[in-house]
């Protein structure tokens, strides 16, 4: 088995200036009683202001853990960042003190979670929870903070904000609750928003509304957005580029339309083939065979090799680096050329 030095594809090809956020060779592990789970194993990605990066991948591939490491809210112990850099606005967050990180959290970067009902405090009013952002970060008075909370609720189009500011989370519908989460993330006009499956817990009918609102606000405030999702349909609509994760690594990264047209990794191809498509109605849906790897024992070589239809001997021994496919895309597959052509 050879060790890997991942040379990353220039993430910002074609865009001027340094990116807002650049994650470099990030490693995260969970030291549990059963052993060390290597959840993130050298992730590289970047987002610029006004740009949307969609992160795709099966359950357990490390999408949320990467996001938690960026936010600095990793469950630690057992989770530890063991290697890498998280450069945000020119500073490596991993080198900052906890106090400095806390000032950034919520103010410069904010996170939207999947389940708004459990993510909001059940015993505090939404007005209090929104206003808290201003009171803590800006030292605003209780009264002013409440006015700000109402303003925010209007901003995310919650009807009758003035009357509802003193309501509790359980008194809102799922869609309205997620709007409150969005409002809370937006409160201090951060430069980066990480949305971890923001619409998964919602009814299909309100999913689109919430997603549209998020995309609209992102454009308006010119924020960077990391969108973690399983929904390939949503990705096509709102994302600029995609990073596909597998077993804690980025296996493919590409501008969204190029990736849809021509995947350069067999795993991405499998993911794309497994979405139902209108023009192929009636055909059997494809599913990637096998299960995601156990993170306590990741297969040697390419982690995807046991499930890959193209696997050769080299795939079982050598970890593939992220090969530059073009200026703006990369694939961590020994046979990326063949995949691209096939």
């Amino acid at each position: 088995m050879t060790t890997t030095t991942e040379k990353s594809v220039n993430p910002q090809a074609g865009k001027a200036g340094t990116p807002l956020l650049e994650v470099r060779d990030l490693h995260v592990e969970f030291r549990t009683r059963d052993g060390v789970a290597k959840a993130v194993n050298g992730v590289n990605y970047s987002v610029s202001a006004g740009e949307t990066l969609a992160v795709l991948g099966e359950s357990g591939s490390g999408k949320s853990v990467t996001a938690q490491a960026i936010m600095g809210i990793l469950d630690s112990p057992p989770g530890f960042v063991t290697q890498g850099q998280i450069n945000f606005q020119g500073r490596d967050l991993l080198k900052l003190s906890e106090k400095e990180r806390r000032r950034i959290r919520g103010a410069k970067m904010a996170m939207i979670f999947q389940d708004a009902l459990s993510s909001l405090n059940p015993v505090l009013t939404v007005g209090y929870q929104l206003g808290e952002m201003f009171r803590v970060h800006q030292g605003m008075s209780r009264k002013d903070a409440k006015a700000k909370a109402i303003e925010l609720m209007d901003r995310v189009r919650i009807p009758a904000a003035r009357e509802r500011v003193n309501d509790y989370p359980h008194q809102f519908s799922g869609g309205m609750r997620q709007r409150i989460m969005i409002a809370m993330a937006l409160a201090l006009e951060p430069d980066l928003i990480i949305a971890d499956e923001p619409t998964t817990a919602l009814d299909v009918t309100v999913q689109a509304q919430v997603m549209d609102l998020l995309a609209e606000l992102q454009r308006e405030y010119h924020m960077g957005l990391i969108l973690i999702t399983h929904d390939l349909g949503v990705v096509a609509d709102v994302a600029d580029k995609i990073a596909v994760m597998y077993a804690g690594r980025i296996v493919e990264t590409a501008p969204v339309h190029e990736l849809y047209k021509q995947p350069a990794h067999p795993y991405t191809r499998g993911l794309l083939d497994s979405i139902p498509r209108l023009d192929q109605k009636g055909q059997e849906l494809y599913a990637i065979k096998g299960l995601p790897p156990n993170l306590l024992r990741i297969p040697s070589g390419c982690a995807f090799n046991p499930r890959c239809p193209m696997a050769q001997d080299v795939c079982r021994t050598d970890i593939p680096v992220l090969h530059p496919v073009t200026d703006s895309r990369g694939s961590a597959c020994h046979f990326w050329k063949e995949t691209l052509d096939g």
Partner: protein
Amino acid sequence: MGRYVIRRLLQMIPVFIGTTLLIFIMVYALGDPVSALFGDRAPDPATAAQIRHDLHLDEPLWKQYLLYMAGIFTGNFGTAFNGQPVTELMRTAFPITVRLTIVAILIEAVFGVLLGVVSGLRRRGWVDTAVLVLTLVVVSVPTFVTGYLLQLLLGVRWGVAPATVSAEAPFNELIVPGLVLAAVSLAYVTRLTRTTVAENARADYVRTAVAKGLPRHRVVGRHLLRNSLIPVVTFLGTDIGALMGGALVTERIFNIHGVGYQLYQGILRQNSPTVVGFVTILVIIFLIANLLVDLLYAVLDPRIRYA
């Protein structure tokens, strides 16, 4: 809410009748109070019959119960073994036990919550381990052992606290007895707090609070504790009733003439008016405390609505 309270108050009536009837029957089963009155001497049959008649002891049980209940509602709880009206005993005993209970509840709340929060946040730390062992010891040692031990050490050997309590039973003399009375519940509050704090610490809303960039004291104080303490407050509320009735052993050890002491005397001398009267009041306190706890619960947790 108003309708809920009324419904709960109405529900108390059958509970009240049931418990008082039960205790009435049990006291009745203790044996003949009149022969107990005379101690070892055999009573003169004529006098005994006269006393029995005066106390309605020659009536059937159900009639005795009805007569007793009728008495209660006119404020007549009967006469104690020493000839005093039972209400007179209550007037001196209850304030003392209430003070003792206040001391005990305060000790439980302050130390139980404090220890529980520290060990819940630092699970498997040395504080947590020490607290776990300590609570286990406290729970498994009977109250009279902790009681006599503390009395001996603090009161007699080192003389830092009075060994027995004077008749007025002021607050400062009740600290050690309060600690003894609180001990088992204190261990329970500690464990309960530890569990709910540890559970809530992993909750999504706590993660949100951290992601908002709130300082740790705010994450813990405003978000984590506010949720974790709901079951603890509920327990403390119900414990008020239990402590007041359960002070029997503690009051004996420290010679406190409170409710437990009077109850003990009542049972010893088979004086049914004392026993039934005190238990009746305790039942009422218990029922009201429970109602208040339920109402408090709705205040603390906005998701609960009574209709």
